[in-house]
Amino acid sequence: MKKLLCLTTGLVLMAGTAYAEDVWTGGDGLPTSPLACDGSPATLTASPYNGATVQNAPDLKGKQISIVDVPKLIGIGYFTATAKGVADAAKDLGNVDAKTDGPTKANIDDQITLIDNYVTSGVNGIVFAANDPEAIAPVLKKALSKGIHVVGYDSDSTPDAREWFVNQASFNGVAKALIDNIASQIGEDGAFAIVTSTFTTPVQARWISEMSAYTAKCHPKMKWLETVEAQEDNILSFNQANTLMNKYGDELKGIIGMTTVATPAASEAVKQANMCGKIAVTGLALPNAMKPYINGGCINGVVLWNPSDLGYAATEVLRAAVDGTLKPGDTSVKAGKLGDLKIVDGSVVLLGDPVTFTKENINNFDF
């Protein structure tokens, strides 16, 4: 019976090896549009409005409205920060009651049920970050049909299920920032690995696709070793980063964290292994979580937008849609303290370029 156990283990492991031959980047396989290597801006083509239209919306111009913010999940720093932005915007506007409620894990069913209940309870607006673009669509369409305004942020639904989507940064912009950052640290022939959430997470898969395309176009000699999954889990990210270091030894020069959980965990792994300066870590991360590593000199810089601004912008856009000041065909929208935001791709509001946090500027941010 012991043989049985060993045999099964062996067989399963071997079957797995045979199965996974190529380097699997973890991209989503959709078409990519890498930016120019020298940083010349992409040409933004104006396209007709492709968002949805809210039906029979009551005229609430300037009136008090209640909105709910439904992030992918609650309990991670990133969405705590977006929730703060939503609350701040509600306060600045003065005529919005905002509340954040989300599932305790990034689960499609819980998120849908939650939104459904809020639709019934009669809110005037919903801002959301979708766990799955397709799965969330029916319930959002239902909200639209009941006169509720719907705006997405962070992770989009299908465009026909919401009016506007506030994008933190363009996918190819994030990809360029991350790859250029790691290239500048490990050199054009360096090898790096990726720690992502799961390969099912649409946003991460999209970034990875763009990163892969941009690497091939602008840093062709860099070696993409591997992409590993670590969910949005601290300890797992830490363990995966450790295993990557142990596996590749000196060959591994850099690690990119694709989630705000993975990047500090990978930095911690590098620090605890005394590999500061030998292995570069970059990725998406909240400045507060990275201050110990960046101020301590172990890590050079990480990339992110301001998630509070993202929640802030989503709320401002929703208010503008309710008030009728933002209409299909507009090319920009006023978003309170953030000023004018550009509208691209028909119905996508761009927050701006991603910010690189380094020793010089990281202490100016608190989120």
Partner: protein
């Protein structure tokens, strides 16, 4: 949960080998599987056996091994605790909150252990005296802990932990402290369960409640005691879990309870109740980290990890069934 007491007490076989297999067969099987993985993977990529990787593999799941000690006792009694993952999340957050509030570190380490003992003792009372099945109580407790944690913390991470609090990062002779905790607690629990009257009573009650009662054991008291003890291990596991990094993610770790229960089961806590040791569960916890590390080393898509674990559980239990048949 369901176990038929009649099958647990069987006449001893005369053969010493069979005796050993009966006593430690599952532990041996896990150890051999661990060795197979280590040998195969290190032949493919010698880095697998690098000192750093060994350290990571052995230390990485130490908190799971510690929690699995208590879980093994609970399963031995014929109960289960599906709230252990949520409990560890809550206790780690308590430890972290105390640490950033400036309490002395020993308070930060002790309080979660005491809270763990208290919560599990309450569970034990509900199970033993109110006669609510453990799976029902702990299902309820999961919701309460999960919801409570988020209500209180609002999901804000606990950061800026003082360095002297981070006990899991202490090293002695280059070996991380969780390894010592794991080894010492496993041996202590193993010896205690084999030789101390209270420990032996766990097997007796797990094997046959009524028989145990006739020899003067009070199963209700024992159950509460074992749950409390399980809470202590959960508290220690939570401190080790929460101090591995410099931040504590104040949410309930996903599926941690499944990993811990699986470690106990693969480790050989059997199956019909009344048999199994904590050595097996600790080996199984190390085995898990060896497997998940191996997946990265062998370039196996992490998608298959769960399938591998499933096959392992089934293989283990089938092996156990076959072994029982051979002995008969």
């Amino acid at each position: 949960m369901s176990h038929s007491p009649s099958q647990a007490l069987r006449p001893m076989s005369s053969s010493a080998l069979l005796k050993f297999i009966r006593a430690y067969g599952q532990e041996t099987a896990v150890l051999l599987s661990l060795l197979v993985i280590v040998v195969v993977v290190s032949l493919i990529n010698p880095n697998y056996l690098g000192p750093a990787n060994i350290n990571n593999m052995v230390a990485g799941n130490a908190y799971i091994a510690v929690a699995a000690i208590g879980m093994t006792m609970i399963i031995l009694l014929g109960h289960i605790d599906v709230a252990i993952g949520a409990l560890i999340g809550v206790l780690a957050s308590i430890a972290g909150t105390l640490a950033v509030s400036g309490y002395p570190v020993w308070v930060c380490w002790l309080v979660p252990v005491l809270v763990g003992v208290f919560i599990e003792a309450v569970v034990g009372v509900l199970v033993a005296y109110a006669r609510i099945p453990a799976i029902v109580v702990t299902l309820g407790v999961v919701s309460i802990l999960k919801g409570g944690l988020i209500t209180v913390t609002q999901g804000v991470w606990i950061s800026n932990l003082p360095p002297e609090f981070l006990i899991a990062q202490f090293r002695l002779f280059g070996i991380p402290s969780p390894v010592y905790f794991m080894i010492l607690l496993t041996i202590a629990a193993g010896v205690w369960m084999r030789y101390a009257p209270f420990g032996r009573a766990i097997y007796a009650v797990g094997g046959n409640v009524e028989a145990a009662r006739t020899v003067g054991i009070r199963p209700e008291r024992l159950t509460v005691g074992v749950f409390a003890l399980h809470g202590m291990f959960a508290g220690i596991a939570a401190v080790l879990f929460g101090t591995q990094l410099q931040v504590i993610q104040s949410t309930v770790p996903n599926n941690l309870e499944l990993t811990i229960i699986t470690a106990s089961v693969i480790g050989g806590v059997s199956i019909i109740g009344g048999r199994g040791t904590v050595y097996g569960s600790t080996l199984a916890a190390i085995f898990f980290s060896a497997v998940s590390s191996a997946l990265v080393f062998l370039n196996i898509s992490a998608y298959w990890l769960r399938a591998v674990l499933g096959v392992l559980i089934l293989a283990t239990v089938l092996a156990d069934a076959m072994r029982r048949r051979q002995i008969h």
